[in-house]
Every structure is written in structure tokens, then in C-alpha cells.
């Protein structure tokens, strides 16, 4: 397939279908409605199943049921909808079930707004639901990167038997961009060894998928096992991009749409002789701490740029071990940091 001009939400849906997604359960919420709409029209053409749940709560539990059978299942929602799904997400993680979740983020808290935002960084990376669990969280910054990460998401969901979340924002969802979507073959691993529906194949041994362990020692053992998995993700699955950090005096830390805007600002600033670079986390969990260890002695300052009130800043401070002062610049709830504003902020820091 050659490059075609597609809206972000529709590209996400088509990418998922081409990667073998067979089941989609979701509930309408702006600004991601084109994903379920596209799925309802096209998934049945590919032999798949689309159901509109009566709520986000029901939808994520339909995802849980389908995930327990080892099929390629996904849902998409936007911020308040993800809050409602958080119970189910905790159960999915606790019962070690693979699925793909897309959050097309909008402004919060509460009903917030319907315009683009990155207000769910903390919800996605530090919890959302109850208990010690982690999602593998991707924050793509272009539509092509979104497509590629959505398509490979099931590989990791099945590898780790864990939900994978793709964090997009309203800009990426609504913008049109040229994008190439190829057929993608997912590796589901030995899923029949754990999934429901394989009683006879397993030699009359049943599958029991659960997160409840009333004996404290067993619950702790379960948590230790989960933690080992998250540690393995931290070692093996980090993704990030480094831009012009070798001689950078100021390094921007940014992801998703904010990083894309900041990249343009860096180009302009470099033309004017300002030495600015960027660390762009692509995985928000696992957070790419080692990327910040690559900063050289020329770096004097970090500028965290996000479309929220500074949710990543603590991770950046941990990653830099407070070697540098860390400033923040951002807007939220539909206002994005402009190229000019970022340039101005960088110049102000650099003096």
C-alpha cells in the first residue's frame, strides 16, 4: 500500500485491522468517535466483531472477556472514558491479559474539554486503576509512528500478557497526514497455553485467569511476578529519540504532539545559532531514563514541554538525577505550545 492521506483516528483503526485486530468494543466519546465508527463499518468486512458497549465500563469488560480467549482485541476512548475503564484495566493487568488501548487525550480534569491535551500522562504511567500494575505506554508524535506502534502493539501485549496503551491526542486524532499502512503479522506466542477455550488441547487442563489471591503470601508472590515483568519491560522495551544533544546547552524533554512542535522550534533556533536539542520519550512506561544519561557536559538546562501542567517533570528530574535545573513550559486543554512560544522560552533560558 502506497502512502495515502488519512485522518488520524481512521488511520489508527485501519492499522489495527491490518495488524489482525478481530474484536473492538467501545463507547462514543469525542474526539475519537471515528475509530469506533470506522471499526463498525470495516471490522465485520474482515470477519471481525464490533460491539458498542452500553458504557466504557461495559466495553472494557467485553475487552477483558475477549482478551481472555487470546484474540486480538482493542478499544479506544478519550480521557474521562479511560477513567471509567480504569477498573477493567487494573483487572486486565492483574489477570495478565493482552489488549490494545488507545487514548485520544482531551483536556481535564472532570469533563474538562473536548480539545487536544496530554493531560493523562500520570494516569497512563502511574496507575489509573488500583494496585501495583503498569501498562506499556507509547506516545507517538506523527501519524506514521502512531500506525507503526499500533500495529506492533499486540506483539508486546502477547509477549508480556499485559495491556498496551497508545497515547494520542486530539490533534493526532483529527489531523490528516500521508501515511502508509501495511499488512502486519502479529506474534501471539503460545497463547493457547493460557487462554480460555483450549481445555481439550491442554489435555483436559483448565485455564483459570484471575487476580484474586486471598492468602497474603500468594498475593505478594503474584505482585513480585508482575514486578519482574515490568522490570523486564524497563530493560528491553524502552524507545526514545535523541535530537542534536551532542553540543546542546539546552535540552527539551517532550513527547507526542508537543515534541513535534518543539522539533520545529529546535530547527529555527539552530539556524539562529542556539544550541538546543531534545530527548523525546516514545515509551512513557518504561520511561527512558538512560536517554538522559547521554546528555553531555555542554548541557546546562532542561526544558520540559507538554500539553498539561507539567506531568512528566518528576520523571525528568529522576532521570537527570537533578544534574540540571528543569524548567517547564506548556499549555493545556486545547491550547498547544506554539513554535514561537517555545523559541522564546528557550532564548529566555539561554540568555
Amino acid at each position: 500500500m502506497a502512502k495515502v492521506l488519512m485522518k488520524g483516528t481512521e488511520a489508527i483503526a485501519e492499522a489495527a485491522i491490518q495488524a489482525g485486530c478481530t474484536h473492538f468494543f467501545g463507547y462514543p466519546i469525542t474526539p475519537q468517535n471515528e475509530i469506533p465508527e470506522y471499526m463498525s463499518a470495516h471490522l465485520p468486512e474482515h470477519g471481525g466483531v464490533y460491539i458498542q458497549g452500553e458504557s466504557e465500563v461495559a466495553s472494557i469488560n467485553m475487552v477483558l472477556g475477549a482478551a481472555a480467549t487470546g484474540c486480538q482485541v482493542m478499544t479506544s476512548s478519550s480521557s474521562p472514558g479511560i477513567s471509567l475503564m480504569s477498573e477493567g484495566i487494573s483487572y486486565l493487568a492483574g489477570s495478565e491479559l493482552p489488549c490494545v488501548l488507545v487514548n485520544v487525550m482531551r483536556g481535564g480534569p472532570g469533563l474538562g474539554g473536548i480539545l487536544p491535551s496530554q493531560a493523562d500522562y500520570l494516569q497512563a504511567t502511574k496507575g489509573g486503576g488500583n494496585g501495583d500494575y503498569k501498562l506499556l505506554v507509547y506516545a507517538p508524535s506523527t501519524l506514521q509512528e502512531t500506525v507503526d506502534l499500533v500495529q506492533s502493539a499486540w506483539d508486546y501485549a502477547f509477549k508480556y500478557r499485559n495491556p498496551v496503551m497508545v497515547l494520542a491526542d486530539g490533534f493526532m486524532g483529527q489531523m490528516m497526514e500521508p501515511v502508509e499502512i501495511k499488512e502486519y503479522k502479529t506474534d501471539k506466542g503460545e497463547y493457547k497455553s493460557w487462554a480460555l477455550g483450549n481445555f481439550a488441547e491442554r489435555g483436559n487442563k483448565r485455564s483459570l485467569l484471575k487476580s484474586m489471591y486471598l492468602t497474603p503470601e500468594l498475593l505478594e508472590a503474584h505482585n513480585i511476578k508482575l514486578q519482574e515483568k515490568y522490570d523486564r519491560m524497563q530493560k528491553e522495551e524502552m524507545k526514545y529519540e535523541l535530537i542534536d544533544i551532542e553540543d546542546a546547552e539546552l535540552v527539551i524533554a517532550s513527547y507526542g504532539t508537543s515534541a513535534r512542535i518543539a522539533k520545529t522550534a529546535i530547527g529555527h533556533l539552530r539556524e539562529e545559532g542556539y544550541k538546543v536539542g531534545m530527548v523525546r520519550p516514545i515509551t512513557l512506561f518504561p520511561f527512558p531514563y538512560p536517554a538522559f544519561e547521554k546528555l553531555t557536559s555542554t548541557t546546562k538546562h532542561i526544558l520540559d514541554v507538554e500539553m498539561n501542567m507539567g506531568q512528566m517533570i518528576d520523571d525528568v528530574k529522576v532521570a537527570t538525577k537533578s544534574r540540571f535545573p528543569v524548567s517547564f513550559f506548556g499549555h493545556c486543554g486545547g491550547l498547544a505550545p506554539s513554535v514561537e512560544e517555545i523559541e522564546e522560552k528557550c532564548k529566555e533560558i539561554l540568555g
Partner: protein, 248 residues
């Protein structure tokens, strides 16, 4: 010629386990009916169920089939996801009245209304058992519970919800019947009803719902024999037994 009938534990009952249920609780009887039917239909390798939240949260410790845990009230949504992925498998839910009629009321109504081809078993004992005897949507007027210590007051909590009647108002469901476990003759009728719910799914008829009036002697504060009498004296007049919907 006389026939010898040997009563033994069902094959799908996990060997050498005893339930954690209180004396006089109906769960054990309902579990046994389900296991007998799994055996009679030869469904052990095809049956999938969800552990609900409530006293039956550990029913997978007794019934040897594929199980996944459902969050509180969400079993009908989880069952939807399973059945839509594995349409040739046999999927049944098993929920209590707090789980189904309170926190999970949206999930059961919509699963019923979509006509999911599943069998839903609803254990109604008019109280929250696992959490220690709080008021349920099904608690009778005047019935005492830890969160209505003077008895359920309809001015404060409304009247008990009749789930079978409510679901029977929907156009889609195939079969809805209310039964009880209060006496052996009723247990046989309960088994016949659940068997029909099983057969409906196998025949692809859609959503079947069997409400079982059951007991909770511990939280009702009465001995087991009295509890079974109480079902017939107090529950059945408000929750009439019978078929509320049958597509045939």
C-alpha cells in the same frame, strides 16, 4: 424390575473439595445442578464461566472448567467478550443479587437486550452475603440488614427490584424463568429451568435468564430449615415463581 441409581459427585466437580459456603446456603445446590448439567450435556471442555464478586467469587475452586474473574457486576459484559470470540463454546454467568441487580444492572440489561447467546444464572437471596449482610436491591420491605437495621423502608430505599419481570419487558431475551431451591421438588424444577437455559444456548436461541430464589441463613439470622421456609413464606409471594418469557 427395579433400577439402581447411584448418587455420586458430578465429574466436573473438582475432586475432594468442600465448599466454603455456610450450612443452609443455596450456592452448593445451584453449583451441583450446574455441574450435573455440564456432565449431562458433555460440556466440560467447552464450558467457560466467570467468577463473580460475592460469596461465589471462588466457585472456580469447585467447578473444573475454564474460568476468568469478572469485576463486580461485569460478568455479562465479560461473557459478551468471550462468547463473541468463541461462539462454539458454552458460556454461562453466575451472579448474586448485589452483583447483578445493583452494581451490574446496566451490564445484565444490555447483555439481555443484545440477545447475547449465553445462559445467565441469577442467585437472589435478598441480601449481600460476602460483605456481611448489607441491604440489596432485592431486600424485602421490613427485612433487616446491617445497612437497614430497622428493616427496609420503601420511603428511603424504594421497593425490592424484580429482575425477571424487568428483563421480561425487553423484546430480545429468549427465556426468563424464576425458580427456587426451597424444597426438593423445587430443586428439580430449578434444574429443568437451567437445563432449558443450557439447551437454548446450544440451539443458538439467544439470552436465557434463570433467577433462583436462594437462602442466606447466616445473614438472615436464622437456622437453615427456617431459612428455606422463609423463602416460601416471604420471598415467593413478592417474587412469584414461573416463566416470564419463552420464545417458543
Amino acid at each position: 424390575m427395579s433400577e439402581t441409581k447411584v448418587y455420586s459427585k458430578p465429574e466436573s466437580w473438582i475432586k475432594d473439595v468442600h465448599t466454603h459456603y455456610c450450612p443452609g446456603c443455596g450456592h452448593g445446590i445451584a453449583h451441583r445442578i450446574i455441574c450435573e448439567l455440564i456432565d449431562e450435556f458433555g460440556l466440560q471442555d467447552k464450558a467457560i464461566s466467570m467468577a463473580p464478586v460475592g460469596c461465589s467469587a471462588m466457585m472456580y475452586d469447585y467447578i473444573n472448567i475454564d474460568y476468568v474473574e469478572a469485576p463486580h457486576g461485569r460478568a455479562p459484559a465479560v461473557a459478551t467478550g468471550i462468547k463473541r470470540s468463541l461462539p462454539e463454546h458454552f458460556v454461562f454467568t453466575y451472579q448474586g443479587d448485589g452483583d447483578l441487580a445493583s452494581i451490574g444492572i446496566a451490564e445484565i440489561i444490555h447483555a439481555a437486550n443484545r440477545g447475547e447467546n449465553i445462559t445467565a444464572i441469577f442467585i437472589n437471596n435478598a441480601i449481600y452475603g460476602m460483605t456481611g449482610g448489607q441491604m440489596a436491591p432485592t431486600t424485602l420491605i421490613g427485612q433487616k440488614a446491617t445497612t437497614c437495621p430497622l428493616g427496609r423502608d420503601p420511603k428511603l430505599a424504594g421497593y425490592p427490584m424484580r429482575m425477571s419481570e424487568m428483563l421480561a419487558s425487553l423484546a430480545t431475551p429468549a427465556y426468563i424463568e424464576r425458580v427456587t431451591l426451597a424444597q426438593p421438588k423445587y430443586i428439580q424444577k430449578a434444574k429443568t429451568a437451567i437445563k432449558k437455559g443450557f439447551q437454548n444456548q446450544i440451539d443458538g436461541k439467544g439470552f436465557s435468564f434463570i433467577e433462583i430464589l436462594s437462602t442466606c441463613p447466616t445473614n438472615w439470622g436464622m437456622p437453615p430449615v427456617k431459612a428455606f421456609e422463609w423463602v416460601l413464606e416471604e420471598m415467593v409471594p413478592y417474587y412469584p415463581l414461573g416463566v416470564f418469557k419463552d420464545f417458543e
